[in-house]
């Protein structure tokens, strides 16, 4: 079945851009929001920790512990994880997976060490990619699309898998925030090159876009943030639309 994954941005333990659920007591509480998404049928959750200062990063550990105790679907922590010790602490607190982005690009060995130590299945490598102007594939970017790396995205995806990534979270920086649909060319190229599940991210705007990520982009899961947080669609509506288009989902 294809997974539908809401992504929550968390800063110092609080959700940024909180969801306007009816009757919610605290729209900034990640755990309460996570429980609501679970009730709506979310298959998994991603928390992206955007806390800038390292001193305040203990807040994420506390968040992980509370989530593991109260929300009974898998969840991934991404953002700011740089070392094996960072990864160990988050997994030990109860996260199911970690998502590595810049740390993996800067230190590809980290993927290998982490996969060996904690298991491939809990190591997600996140790739932010932008189409190259000359049409020669896609470029890996860091820092939310600000830093160019000179690395080609499909080649990096294949390397990340060779080094032990259990899943790839692929975000199109061209499409992120545009709501014009996922970059299905990018997704299909990476799905072809990598024998692990691909999570599609960046560009969801209409209900049809989600199925397209799967039928055209061959993604194994779809991730979105704002369409859920802004209340444009519920997880249930997305799943119903995917099912109508012949994509198998849990509902």
């Amino acid at each position: 079945m294809i997974r539908v994954i809401p992504c929550l941005d968390v800063d110092r333990g609080r959700v940024v851009k909180g969801v306007n659920f009816v009757d919610i007591r605290d729209a900034g509480d990640p755990v309460e929001l996570a429980a609501r998404y679970d009730a709506e049928g979310a298959d998994e959750l991603v928390f992206l920790d955007i806390t800038a200062t390292h001193e305040e990063r203990d807040t994420i550990i506390h968040l992980v512990e509370r989530t593991a105790e109260e929300v009974f679907i898998p969840f991934t922590i991404g953002g700011g994880l740089r070392t094996e010790e960072d990864i160990r602490a988050v997994l030990a607190a109860g996260a199911d997976k970690v998502s590595l982005n810049s740390a993996a690009v800067r230190d590809p060995d980290l993927v290998e060490r982490a996969a060996l130590r904690f298991g491939d299945q809990c190591i997600v490598v996140a790739i932010d990619a932008k189409r190259r102007a000359d049409g020669s594939g896609w470029e890996v970017y860091l820092a939310g699309g600000r830093t160019e790396t000179g690395i080609e995205a499909v080649a990096w995806a294949a390397e990340a898998v060779r080094r032990g990534a259990g899943e790839l979270l692929v975000t199109s920086m061209d499409r992120d925030g545009t709501q014009v649909g996922f970059d299905t060319d990018l997704l299909a190229a990476i799905a072809e090159a990598a024998a692990v599940p691909v999570i599609a991210s960046g560009g969801a705007g209409t209900l049809e876009h989600f199925a397209q990520a799967v039928t055209v982009g061959h993604a194994d899961a779809v991730l979105a943030a704002s369409v859920f947080h802004d209340g444009v669609y519920t997880v249930g509506e997305v799943k119903a639309a995917m099912a109508r288009d012949g994509v198998p989902v849990r509902r």
């Binding site: 079945m1 294809i2 997974r3 679970d38 049928g41 298959d43 512990e65 593991a68 105790e69 109260e70 009974f72 679907i73 898998p74 997994l91 030990a92 607190a93 109860g94 199911d96 298991g119 491939d120 299945q121 259990g166 899943e167 024998a195 692990v196 599940p197 194994d220 899961a221 849990r250 509902r251």
Partner: protein
């Protein structure tokens, strides 16, 4: 963990091969009184044992042994104490695994663990519907497909020698055993503690079976 309700007392075996937080909290939410046990002495006088597990078969057997749990699990099974294995915990109940050749498993369910032979992506990560066999306490009595759909993360699957030990199957390009059991011993390949409502309901049915005993075997 703090004592939960007035339900059965469950020893959750801690042999450093998985995070116990979600399993423990799920059981407590369902009324169980959970004791996290790192040694056999901490797992005495309980109604049932839960054997979780994530990681490699060989390393897990080594840790189980180091914590003194292998003998205790075999005795418990012989005494009729219910045991529930989760994920790798299910695989450990078998004789051996392709993942760690030469390492004997607990041998509580005859059979071997083999790598998923499928043209689909491995590890199998995600939600799959389970086709339950009749007569197991683990199966839901009614409900729709979502009530039989659980979250899996695995590269290996169990192959019981006796088809009568199969409790449920699922498909990932190829059919595989999603749940198995023999006498008081049972296990599920998926993670009920990560399977939302359907998973909590399954744990609830198993706890009910533990409390009443009459519906065993699982």
């Amino acid at each position: 963990m703090t004592p939960g309700g007035s339900g059965p007392i469950i020893a959750l075996l801690d042999y450093e091969m998985s995070n116990l937080r979600s399993v423990g909290k799920a059981l407590e939410r369902l009324g169980a009184r959970v004791r996290v046990a790192a040694r056999p002495a901490e797992a005495t006088g309980v109604d049932a044992l839960v054997l979780p597990g994530v990681g490699r078969f060989g390393a897990a057997m080594e840790r189980l042994q180091a914590h003194g749990f292998t003998g205790m699990l075999r005795e418990a099974a012989a005494d009729g104490t219910p045991v529930l294995g989760i994920c790798l915990g299910l695989q450990l109940l078998f004789d051996e695994s392709e993942e760690s050749p030469g390492v004997p498993g607990l041998g509580l369910i005859p059979g071997a663990v083999r790598r998923l032979r499928t043209d689909r992506k491995v590890p199998h990560i995600g939600w799959s519907e389970v086709d339950w066999r009749h007569g197991t306490v683990l199966a839901p009595e009614d409900g729709g497909p979502a009530d039989r759909t659980y979250y899996f993360v695995h590269s290996y699957a169990c192959e019981p020698v006796d088809d009568g030990d199969v409790r449920g199957t699922a498909t990932h390009g190829v059919g595989f055993v999603a749940a198995a059991g023999r006498g008081p011993v049972a296990g599920v390949q998926f993670h009920p503690e990560k399977s939302s409502r359907a998973g909590l309901a399954l744990l609830g049915r198993w706890l009910h079976g533990v409390a009443t005993r009459e519906v065993m075997p699982a």
